[in-house]
């Protein structure tokens, strides 16, 4: 999915209800943002302090062209926002924070909102991907989703030690409803073994029939992505060693780092 926006950062979380008195803004459906239309551009203010400009096609060249004609309006809206929120920054500073932003699904306000997705929906999507795309592609899709989540978590929370990373992952599994994550002490047969994880009540596979497939590629890749991001190193591998899909009654994952 290729989509781009131009984004300014106020550098702090903000209370959107204060901005509602600026009458050109309206609330969006998910109520985490305010928007206004501006000469073919949409200007969106998010509660995380971002001000995002995009257009219909989410195409950067077009955004840039339209920004040129709307530059005075953009400037004065930013001034309004700063004044209304009582922020101690200048509009100039905010303007200079502007940058081209690639939009992806990982921008869907991860960690900012708790919402329960039914396991039924999740598993229906998972099995549909196997049915339609085949085993190989289905695995790749789940892997991509998992990597995104794992990396994003580490990028945002910046754990400083492996212990912190593991604590972060446990909380993440709780928050996302992926299952109950714990670590397994294992005799270090290999110097490259980073950690062994166990997941009970796995959202993806617990209770499924032994279909002779390891089903938890999302979880596996989440762990891999988190370690790769944490260690700033790509040569990390994660394997699922136990899964309900294989006839086990919990999931287990081994994470290795291969020499640089």
């Amino acid at each position: 999915m290729k989509a781009e926006a131009f984004t300014y950062d106020l550098g702090t979380r903000i209370d959107l209800s204060k901005l509602e008195k600026l009458n050109y803004f309206r609330r969006t459906d998910n109520s985490d943002a305010l928007v206004t239309d501006l000469k073919g551009l949409t200007l969106m203010v998010l509660s995380n302090g971002r001000i995002r400009l995009f257009e219909h096609e989410r195409d950067f060249e077009q955004i840039r062209d339209k920004m040129l004609t709307a530059s005075i309006e953009i400037y004065s809206i930013i001034e309004d926002i700063i004044k209304t929120l009582g922020l101690k920054v200048s509009a100039k500073q905010i303007i200079s924070s502007g940058r081209r932003e690639e939009l992806g699904t990982d921008d869907l306000a991860l960690f900012e909102r708790k919402q329960n997705l039914s396991t039924h929906v999740l598993r229906s999507l998972l099995f549909a991907s196997y049915d339609l795309a085949g085993d190989f592609q289905a695995e790749r899709i789940s892997t991509q989703a998992g990597e995104q989540i794992g990396r994003k978590a580490v990028k945002i929370k910046k754990p400083q030690s492996k212990e912190e990373l593991i604590r972060l992952l446990k909380k993440l599994f709780d928050d996302l409803g992926l299952g109950k994550l714990s670590t397994v002490e294992r005799e270090k047969g290999s110097v490259t073994l980073e950690a062994v994880f166990r997941v009970d009540d796995c959202a993806l596979c617990s209770g499924v029939a032994p279909v002779n497939k390891k089903l938890c590629n999302l979880t596996r890749a989440l762990l891999r992505g988190a370690f790769a991001e944490f260690k700033h190193m790509e040569s990390i591998t994660a394997n699922e060693t136990k899964c309900w899909g294989m006839g086990d009654t919990y999931c287990e994952f081994e994470v290795y780092s291969l020499a640089k």
């Binding site: 892997t143 790509e234 591998t237 291969l258």
Partner: protein, 225 residues
């Protein structure tokens, strides 16, 4: 169709500019014919042009390859690695899924456009039988193409001369095949190469000698063999 230059003087001319974007090309040859150097040159020259690359090493530790290349050639490979333009990846040679994970992550998270797998012959170890191997290889090459990567995969051959060439199933699956030879001539051997196939583009059908020198591989177009 957009062409991706390989960065190998002479060979790019033989291909009318390079290999078609998103295609998978096999570079086949016997021991010491220059397969690893070919792959590294493709990535290094790409990096200099601002195209990121990843080297998946299934045969040697990638650290060793970097050392060898630093010693053999005048290229500053370490600088490109430092800058993040070149990823050197080690992978457990018995796990196919792990290897694809690394490729996928390099492409999706580091915006890699050029991938080298050295050597694909090693992939056979991942599979029970030829059928599974063929299926795995097909899936891999198809996947790489779908994520907009132009791939060079090296293949080990038990021969170095053209007359003895036997083709494996890899050559049929890939979009292009380049053969590297080490041919006996009088009492020495000379390096030569030919483009055996290249889907989607015309290419030279002749066999040309090439050199390996401090600036890498270089095809001598003046001397058809």
């Amino acid at each position: 169709m957009k062409k991706i230059p390989l960065g190998i003087p002479g060979l790019d001319e033989m291909l009318g500019g390079g290999v078609p974007e998103n295609h998978s090309i096999l570079v086949c040859g016997g021991p010491g014919t220059g397969k690893t150097s070919f792959g590294m040159q493709y990535l290094y020259k790409g990096a200099l042009m601002g195209e990121k690359g990843a080297f998946i090493s299934l045969e040697q530790k990638s650290k060793r390859i970097v050392e060898d290349v630093q010693n053999a050639f005048s290229w500053n490979v370490e600088e490109e690695i430092e800058k993040g333009n070149l990823l050197m990846l080690d992978v457990d040679r018995y796990n196919f899924q792990n290897m694809i994970d690394l490729v996928q992550s390099s492409v999706m998270h580091h915006k890699v456009k050029r991938v080298v797998i050295d050597t694909i012959t090693m992939l056979r170890l991942f599979f029970r039988d030829d059928y599974e191997f063929r299926k795995g290889l097909f899936n891999l090459l198809d996947f790489l193409s779908s994520i907009n990567v132009t791939t060079i995969a090296t293949v080990e051959k038990p021969y170095s001369v053209r007359e003895e060439a036997v083709f494996g199933l890899e050559e049929f699956i890939a979009d292009g095949v380049i053969m590297l030879y080490n041919m006996p001539k009088k009492n020495q051997r000379i390096r030569a190469l030919e483009v055996l196939k290249m889907r989607g583009t015309d290419h030279s059908k002749s066999i040309y000698p090439f050199q390996i020198a401090s600036d890498g591989l270089n095809v001598l177009l003046e001397e058809v063999l």
